[in-house]
Subunit: 206 residues, 2 copies
Protein backbone atom coordinates (compact mmCIF):
# COMPACT_ATOMS: atom_id res chain seq x y z
CA UNK A 1 0.00 0.00 0.00
CA UNK A 2 2.77 2.44 -0.76
CA UNK A 3 0.51 4.55 -2.94
CA UNK A 4 0.12 8.27 -2.50
CA UNK A 5 -2.45 9.25 0.10
CA UNK A 6 -3.70 12.80 -0.39
CA UNK A 7 -4.21 15.25 2.43
CA UNK A 8 -7.97 15.15 1.76
CA UNK A 9 -8.03 11.39 2.41
CA UNK A 10 -5.95 11.74 5.58
CA UNK A 11 -8.30 14.45 6.81
CA UNK A 12 -11.27 12.13 6.35
CA UNK A 13 -9.81 9.19 8.31
CA UNK A 14 -10.57 10.64 11.78
CA UNK A 15 -14.17 11.17 10.76
CA UNK A 16 -14.57 7.59 9.54
CA UNK A 17 -13.12 6.39 12.81
CA UNK A 18 -15.46 8.60 14.86
CA UNK A 19 -18.53 7.21 13.11
CA UNK A 20 -17.31 3.62 13.43
CA UNK A 21 -16.64 4.13 17.13
CA UNK A 22 -20.18 5.41 17.58
CA UNK A 23 -21.60 2.43 15.69
CA UNK A 24 -19.49 0.09 17.81
CA UNK A 25 -20.75 1.76 20.98
CA UNK A 26 -24.28 1.19 19.68
CA UNK A 27 -23.52 -2.52 19.38
CA UNK A 28 -23.55 -2.57 15.57
CA UNK A 29 -21.20 -5.24 14.26
CA UNK A 30 -21.11 -4.66 10.54
CA UNK A 31 -22.14 -2.03 8.02
CA UNK A 32 -22.16 -1.69 4.24
CA UNK A 33 -20.34 1.17 2.57
CA UNK A 34 -23.76 2.33 1.36
CA UNK A 35 -25.22 2.57 4.88
CA UNK A 36 -22.05 4.13 6.26
CA UNK A 37 -22.14 6.64 3.41
CA UNK A 38 -25.75 7.50 4.19
CA UNK A 39 -24.98 8.18 7.85
CA UNK A 40 -21.88 10.20 7.02
CA UNK A 41 -23.36 12.01 4.01
CA UNK A 42 -20.65 10.83 1.60
CA UNK A 43 -20.91 8.37 -1.28
CA UNK A 44 -20.25 4.66 -0.82
CA UNK A 45 -17.72 4.91 -3.62
CA UNK A 46 -15.81 7.64 -1.78
CA UNK A 47 -15.55 5.41 1.28
CA UNK A 48 -14.36 2.44 -0.76
CA UNK A 49 -11.83 4.55 -2.63
CA UNK A 50 -10.48 6.11 0.54
CA UNK A 51 -10.12 2.78 2.35
CA UNK A 52 -8.58 1.11 -0.70
CA UNK A 53 -5.47 3.21 -0.07
CA UNK A 54 -4.91 1.08 3.00
CA UNK A 55 -5.99 -2.30 1.71
CA UNK A 56 -9.77 -2.15 1.47
CA UNK A 57 -11.07 -4.22 4.44
CA UNK A 58 -14.63 -4.63 3.17
CA UNK A 59 -16.06 -7.87 1.78
CA UNK A 60 -18.47 -7.89 -1.14
CA UNK A 61 -21.95 -8.60 0.21
CA UNK A 62 -20.80 -8.51 3.82
CA UNK A 63 -19.72 -4.92 4.34
CA UNK A 64 -17.24 -3.76 6.95
CA UNK A 65 -16.69 -5.30 10.33
CA UNK A 66 -17.27 -2.20 12.49
CA UNK A 67 -14.90 -3.01 15.34
CA UNK A 68 -12.24 -4.39 13.01
CA UNK A 69 -12.29 -1.35 10.73
CA UNK A 70 -12.26 1.05 13.66
CA UNK A 71 -9.22 -0.76 15.06
CA UNK A 72 -7.54 -0.75 11.68
CA UNK A 73 -8.08 3.02 11.31
CA UNK A 74 -6.61 3.59 14.76
CA UNK A 75 -3.57 1.57 13.72
CA UNK A 76 -3.23 3.49 10.45
CA UNK A 77 -3.37 6.86 12.23
CA UNK A 78 -1.13 5.61 15.03
CA UNK A 79 -3.83 6.05 17.68
CA UNK A 80 -2.80 2.70 19.18
CA UNK A 81 0.28 4.23 20.81
CA UNK A 82 0.88 7.17 23.15
CA UNK A 83 2.32 10.62 22.48
CA UNK A 84 4.10 13.02 24.75
CA UNK A 85 2.52 16.39 24.15
CA UNK A 86 3.48 19.87 25.32
CA UNK A 87 1.70 23.21 25.16
CA UNK A 88 3.04 26.67 24.43
CA UNK A 89 0.31 28.99 25.65
CA UNK A 90 -1.70 28.17 28.76
CA UNK A 91 -4.49 30.72 28.36
CA UNK A 92 -8.13 29.84 27.85
CA UNK A 93 -7.73 27.96 24.58
CA UNK A 94 -4.71 26.00 25.81
CA UNK A 95 -6.48 25.03 29.02
CA UNK A 96 -9.64 24.08 27.15
CA UNK A 97 -7.67 21.72 24.92
CA UNK A 98 -5.57 20.27 27.78
CA UNK A 99 -8.77 19.67 29.68
CA UNK A 100 -10.37 17.94 26.73
CA UNK A 101 -7.39 15.71 26.03
CA UNK A 102 -6.89 14.73 29.66
CA UNK A 103 -10.56 13.81 29.98
CA UNK A 104 -11.14 12.19 26.60
CA UNK A 105 -7.95 11.24 24.81
CA UNK A 106 -5.64 9.36 27.17
CA UNK A 107 -3.14 8.54 24.40
CA UNK A 108 -1.85 12.11 24.69
CA UNK A 109 0.25 12.50 27.80
CA UNK A 110 0.82 16.14 28.75
CA UNK A 111 4.51 16.40 29.69
CA UNK A 112 5.35 20.08 29.28
CA UNK A 113 3.72 23.50 29.57
CA UNK A 114 5.01 26.94 28.71
CA UNK A 115 3.67 30.45 29.15
CA UNK A 116 5.50 33.69 29.68
CA UNK A 117 2.91 35.39 31.87
CA UNK A 118 4.57 35.85 35.29
CA UNK A 119 1.42 34.91 37.22
CA UNK A 120 1.29 31.57 35.40
CA UNK A 121 4.94 30.48 35.61
CA UNK A 122 5.37 27.91 38.38
CA UNK A 123 1.67 27.08 38.63
CA UNK A 124 0.37 23.67 37.58
CA UNK A 125 -2.18 22.28 35.13
CA UNK A 126 -2.91 18.56 35.14
CA UNK A 127 0.04 18.04 37.49
CA UNK A 128 2.54 19.71 35.14
CA UNK A 129 4.33 22.94 36.06
CA UNK A 130 4.15 25.87 33.65
CA UNK A 131 7.64 26.95 32.60
CA UNK A 132 8.93 30.24 31.25
CA UNK A 133 10.02 30.30 27.62
CA UNK A 134 13.68 30.15 28.63
CA UNK A 135 13.25 27.05 30.81
CA UNK A 136 10.91 25.43 28.33
CA UNK A 137 13.50 25.78 25.59
CA UNK A 138 15.60 23.19 27.41
CA UNK A 139 12.54 21.00 28.08
CA UNK A 140 11.74 21.04 24.36
CA UNK A 141 14.96 19.29 23.42
CA UNK A 142 13.91 15.77 24.39
CA UNK A 143 10.92 13.59 25.01
CA UNK A 144 8.22 15.63 23.29
CA UNK A 145 6.43 14.13 20.27
CA UNK A 146 3.84 16.82 19.62
CA UNK A 147 3.99 20.52 20.37
CA UNK A 148 0.71 22.41 20.58
CA UNK A 149 0.87 26.14 20.03
CA UNK A 150 -2.03 27.93 21.65
CA UNK A 151 -0.31 31.30 21.81
CA UNK A 152 -0.43 34.41 19.60
CA UNK A 153 1.11 34.35 16.10
CA UNK A 154 4.25 36.22 17.13
CA UNK A 155 5.06 33.67 19.86
CA UNK A 156 4.20 30.82 17.47
CA UNK A 157 6.79 32.10 15.02
CA UNK A 158 9.43 32.43 17.73
CA UNK A 159 8.80 28.93 19.03
CA UNK A 160 8.89 27.48 15.52
CA UNK A 161 12.53 28.52 15.25
CA UNK A 162 13.42 26.36 18.23
CA UNK A 163 11.67 23.19 17.06
CA UNK A 164 14.25 22.06 14.50
CA UNK A 165 16.78 19.69 16.05
CA UNK A 166 14.49 18.57 18.86
CA UNK A 167 12.62 15.25 19.00
CA UNK A 168 9.33 16.98 18.17
CA UNK A 169 7.69 15.27 15.19
CA UNK A 170 4.52 17.27 14.82
CA UNK A 171 3.18 20.73 15.62
CA UNK A 172 -0.51 21.45 16.16
CA UNK A 173 -0.68 25.18 15.65
CA UNK A 174 -3.59 27.38 16.74
CA UNK A 175 -1.49 30.55 16.52
CA UNK A 176 -3.43 32.24 13.68
CA UNK A 177 -0.44 31.97 11.39
CA UNK A 178 0.73 29.31 8.92
CA UNK A 179 3.96 27.83 10.20
CA UNK A 180 6.39 25.92 8.01
CA UNK A 181 9.06 23.99 9.87
CA UNK A 182 11.51 21.93 7.87
CA UNK A 183 11.32 18.22 8.64
CA UNK A 184 8.38 18.60 11.02
CA UNK A 185 4.72 18.14 10.08
CA UNK A 186 2.68 21.18 11.05
CA UNK A 187 -1.09 21.30 11.08
CA UNK A 188 -2.28 24.88 11.18
CA UNK A 189 -5.73 25.26 12.67
CA UNK A 190 -7.64 28.40 11.80
CA UNK A 191 -10.79 28.17 13.85
CA UNK A 192 -12.48 31.07 12.13
CA UNK A 193 -12.15 29.48 8.69
CA UNK A 194 -15.07 27.23 9.50
CA UNK A 195 -17.04 30.21 10.86
CA UNK A 196 -16.43 32.01 7.56
CA UNK A 197 -17.57 28.93 5.64
CA UNK A 198 -20.71 28.95 7.81
CA UNK A 199 -21.30 32.58 6.77
CA UNK A 200 -21.02 31.53 3.14
CA UNK A 201 -23.78 28.98 3.68
CA UNK A 202 -25.96 31.47 5.55
CA UNK A 203 -25.72 33.78 2.55
CA UNK A 204 -26.28 31.00 0.01
CA UNK A 205 -29.19 28.95 1.31
CA UNK A 206 -30.22 26.02 -0.91
CA UNK B 1 -22.77 31.69 -11.57
CA UNK B 2 -25.52 29.45 -10.38
CA UNK B 3 -23.39 26.35 -10.64
CA UNK B 4 -22.96 23.89 -7.80
CA UNK B 5 -20.25 24.84 -5.35
CA UNK B 6 -18.96 21.85 -3.41
CA UNK B 7 -18.27 21.88 0.30
CA UNK B 8 -14.55 21.43 -0.46
CA UNK B 9 -14.53 24.67 -2.49
CA UNK B 10 -16.42 26.57 0.22
CA UNK B 11 -13.95 25.30 2.82
CA UNK B 12 -11.05 26.69 0.76
CA UNK B 13 -12.48 30.20 0.34
CA UNK B 14 -11.51 31.44 3.83
CA UNK B 15 -7.95 30.27 3.25
CA UNK B 16 -7.69 32.13 -0.07
CA UNK B 17 -8.99 35.22 1.63
CA UNK B 18 -6.50 34.91 4.52
CA UNK B 19 -3.57 34.70 2.14
CA UNK B 20 -4.82 37.62 0.04
CA UNK B 21 -5.28 39.71 3.17
CA UNK B 22 -1.70 38.98 4.18
CA UNK B 23 -0.44 39.91 0.70
CA UNK B 24 -2.46 43.12 0.82
CA UNK B 25 -1.01 43.96 4.24
CA UNK B 26 2.43 43.44 2.71
CA UNK B 27 1.59 46.00 0.05
CA UNK B 28 1.42 43.50 -2.82
CA UNK B 29 -1.06 44.67 -5.45
CA UNK B 30 -1.30 41.76 -7.83
CA UNK B 31 -0.37 38.11 -7.99
CA UNK B 32 -0.54 35.33 -10.58
CA UNK B 33 -2.42 32.12 -9.81
CA UNK B 34 0.97 30.37 -10.10
CA UNK B 35 2.61 32.52 -7.41
CA UNK B 36 -0.46 32.35 -5.18
CA UNK B 37 -0.47 28.57 -5.63
CA UNK B 38 3.19 28.38 -4.65
CA UNK B 39 2.62 30.33 -1.45
CA UNK B 40 -0.48 28.34 -0.57
CA UNK B 41 0.88 24.95 -1.67
CA UNK B 42 -1.98 24.27 -4.10
CA UNK B 43 -1.91 24.17 -7.89
CA UNK B 44 -2.61 27.25 -10.00
CA UNK B 45 -5.28 25.24 -11.80
CA UNK B 46 -7.04 24.49 -8.50
CA UNK B 47 -7.19 28.20 -7.70
CA UNK B 48 -8.53 29.08 -11.15
CA UNK B 49 -11.11 26.31 -11.00
CA UNK B 50 -12.28 27.30 -7.54
CA UNK B 51 -12.60 30.98 -8.39
CA UNK B 52 -14.32 30.23 -11.69
CA UNK B 53 -17.36 29.18 -9.68
CA UNK B 54 -17.81 32.81 -8.78
CA UNK B 55 -16.84 34.45 -12.06
CA UNK B 56 -13.07 34.07 -12.30
CA UNK B 57 -11.66 37.56 -11.55
CA UNK B 58 -8.14 36.96 -12.96
CA UNK B 59 -6.88 38.40 -16.23
CA UNK B 60 -4.61 36.43 -18.54
CA UNK B 61 -1.08 37.77 -18.17
CA UNK B 62 -2.02 40.13 -15.37
CA UNK B 63 -3.06 37.84 -12.53
CA UNK B 64 -5.35 38.79 -9.70
CA UNK B 65 -5.74 42.21 -8.18
CA UNK B 66 -5.01 41.32 -4.55
CA UNK B 67 -7.25 43.86 -2.85
CA UNK B 68 -10.06 43.41 -5.36
CA UNK B 69 -10.06 39.62 -5.02
CA UNK B 70 -9.89 39.78 -1.25
CA UNK B 71 -12.88 42.13 -1.26
CA UNK B 72 -14.74 39.88 -3.67
CA UNK B 73 -14.16 36.84 -1.47
CA UNK B 74 -15.44 38.74 1.55
CA UNK B 75 -18.55 39.62 -0.41
CA UNK B 76 -19.03 36.01 -1.55
CA UNK B 77 -18.74 34.69 2.02
CA UNK B 78 -20.84 37.55 3.37
CA UNK B 79 -18.02 38.93 5.50
CA UNK B 80 -19.02 42.44 4.43
CA UNK B 81 -21.97 42.45 6.81
CA UNK B 82 -22.40 41.83 10.54
CA UNK B 83 -23.81 38.86 12.42
CA UNK B 84 -25.43 38.62 15.81
CA UNK B 85 -23.81 35.69 17.53
CA UNK B 86 -24.65 33.90 20.78
CA UNK B 87 -22.80 31.26 22.79
CA UNK B 88 -24.12 28.24 24.63
CA UNK B 89 -21.28 27.27 26.94
CA UNK B 90 -19.13 29.93 28.60
CA UNK B 91 -16.32 27.72 29.85
CA UNK B 92 -12.72 27.94 28.70
CA UNK B 93 -13.34 27.17 25.05
CA UNK B 94 -16.32 29.51 24.81
CA UNK B 95 -14.40 32.34 26.46
CA UNK B 96 -11.36 31.73 24.26
CA UNK B 97 -13.48 32.04 21.13
CA UNK B 98 -15.47 35.04 22.39
CA UNK B 99 -12.19 36.71 23.25
CA UNK B 100 -10.77 36.00 19.83
CA UNK B 101 -13.83 37.25 17.96
CA UNK B 102 -14.16 40.43 20.03
CA UNK B 103 -10.50 41.24 19.46
CA UNK B 104 -10.14 40.18 15.85
CA UNK B 105 -13.43 39.74 14.05
CA UNK B 106 -15.66 42.77 14.66
CA UNK B 107 -18.30 41.58 12.18
CA UNK B 108 -19.50 39.12 14.85
CA UNK B 109 -21.43 40.96 17.52
CA UNK B 110 -21.87 38.91 20.69
CA UNK B 111 -25.51 39.42 21.75
CA UNK B 112 -26.29 36.42 23.93
CA UNK B 113 -24.59 34.04 26.36
CA UNK B 114 -25.85 30.94 28.10
CA UNK B 115 -24.43 28.61 30.69
CA UNK B 116 -26.16 26.58 33.34
CA UNK B 117 -23.41 26.71 35.98
CA UNK B 118 -24.89 28.69 38.91
CA UNK B 119 -21.66 30.62 39.53
CA UNK B 120 -21.70 31.88 35.95
CA UNK B 121 -25.35 32.90 35.57
CA UNK B 122 -25.70 36.67 35.95
CA UNK B 123 -22.00 37.40 35.37
CA UNK B 124 -20.83 39.18 32.23
CA UNK B 125 -18.45 38.54 29.37
CA UNK B 126 -17.79 41.30 26.84
CA UNK B 127 -20.62 43.30 28.39
CA UNK B 128 -23.21 40.55 27.91
CA UNK B 129 -24.88 38.80 30.83
CA UNK B 130 -24.76 35.01 30.99
CA UNK B 131 -28.28 33.58 31.12
CA UNK B 132 -29.57 30.28 32.39
CA UNK B 133 -30.86 27.82 29.80
CA UNK B 134 -34.46 28.67 30.64
CA UNK B 135 -33.97 32.42 30.16
CA UNK B 136 -31.79 31.94 27.11
CA UNK B 137 -34.52 29.88 25.43
CA UNK B 138 -36.58 33.07 25.17
CA UNK B 139 -33.53 35.08 24.05
CA UNK B 140 -32.93 32.56 21.26
CA UNK B 141 -36.22 33.29 19.56
CA UNK B 142 -35.21 36.53 17.87
CA UNK B 143 -32.20 38.52 16.72
CA UNK B 144 -29.56 35.79 16.67
CA UNK B 145 -27.96 34.85 13.34
CA UNK B 146 -25.35 32.37 14.52
CA UNK B 147 -25.39 30.11 17.56
CA UNK B 148 -22.07 28.79 18.81
CA UNK B 149 -22.20 25.64 20.90
CA UNK B 150 -19.18 25.34 23.15
CA UNK B 151 -20.82 22.97 25.60
CA UNK B 152 -20.75 19.19 26.04
CA UNK B 153 -22.47 16.91 23.49
CA UNK B 154 -25.51 16.27 25.67
CA UNK B 155 -26.23 20.01 26.02
CA UNK B 156 -25.55 20.51 22.30
CA UNK B 157 -28.25 17.98 21.46
CA UNK B 158 -30.73 19.59 23.84
CA UNK B 159 -30.11 23.06 22.43
CA UNK B 160 -30.42 21.79 18.85
CA UNK B 161 -34.03 20.91 19.54
CA UNK B 162 -34.82 24.53 20.35
CA UNK B 163 -33.19 26.07 17.27
CA UNK B 164 -35.93 25.25 14.77
CA UNK B 165 -38.41 28.10 14.45
CA UNK B 166 -35.99 30.78 15.67
CA UNK B 167 -34.19 33.30 13.45
CA UNK B 168 -30.91 31.38 13.82
CA UNK B 169 -29.46 30.63 10.40
CA UNK B 170 -26.27 28.83 11.29
CA UNK B 171 -24.83 26.76 14.14
CA UNK B 172 -21.10 26.52 14.82
CA UNK B 173 -20.90 23.39 16.94
CA UNK B 174 -17.89 22.43 19.06
CA UNK B 175 -19.92 19.98 21.13
CA UNK B 176 -18.11 16.78 20.03
CA UNK B 177 -21.22 15.51 18.29
CA UNK B 178 -22.58 15.86 14.77
CA UNK B 179 -25.77 17.86 14.89
CA UNK B 180 -28.33 17.88 12.12
CA UNK B 181 -30.94 20.60 12.36
CA UNK B 182 -33.54 20.86 9.61
CA UNK B 183 -33.38 24.12 7.71
CA UNK B 184 -30.30 25.37 9.58
CA UNK B 185 -26.72 25.01 8.38
CA UNK B 186 -24.57 23.36 11.02
CA UNK B 187 -20.79 23.23 10.93
CA UNK B 188 -19.54 20.59 13.34
CA UNK B 189 -16.00 21.26 14.52
CA UNK B 190 -14.07 18.28 15.86
CA UNK B 191 -10.83 19.77 17.06
CA UNK B 192 -9.17 16.43 17.65
CA UNK B 193 -9.72 15.32 14.03
CA UNK B 194 -6.79 17.48 13.00
CA UNK B 195 -4.71 16.13 15.89
CA UNK B 196 -5.46 12.60 14.68
CA UNK B 197 -4.48 13.59 11.14
CA UNK B 198 -1.24 14.95 12.60
CA UNK B 199 -0.61 11.56 14.21
CA UNK B 200 -1.11 9.92 10.84
CA UNK B 201 1.63 12.13 9.38
CA UNK B 202 3.94 11.48 12.32
CA UNK B 203 3.60 7.75 11.65
CA UNK B 204 3.96 8.12 7.88
CA UNK B 205 6.89 10.46 7.33
CA UNK B 206 7.78 11.13 3.68
Amino acid sequence: MNNYVSDAVVRRLPRYRRYLKKLKDQGIQRISSKDLGNIMDVTASQIRQDLNHFGGFGQQGYGYGVEELEGKLEEIMGLDRTYNIAFVGCGRLGRAIINYLVGNEPIYKVVGLCDNRPDMIGTEIAGITIQSKEDFKKRMQRGIDILVITAPAVIAEEVAEDVAGTEIKGVWNFGHTELNIKGVKVINVHLSDSLHALCYYINHPD
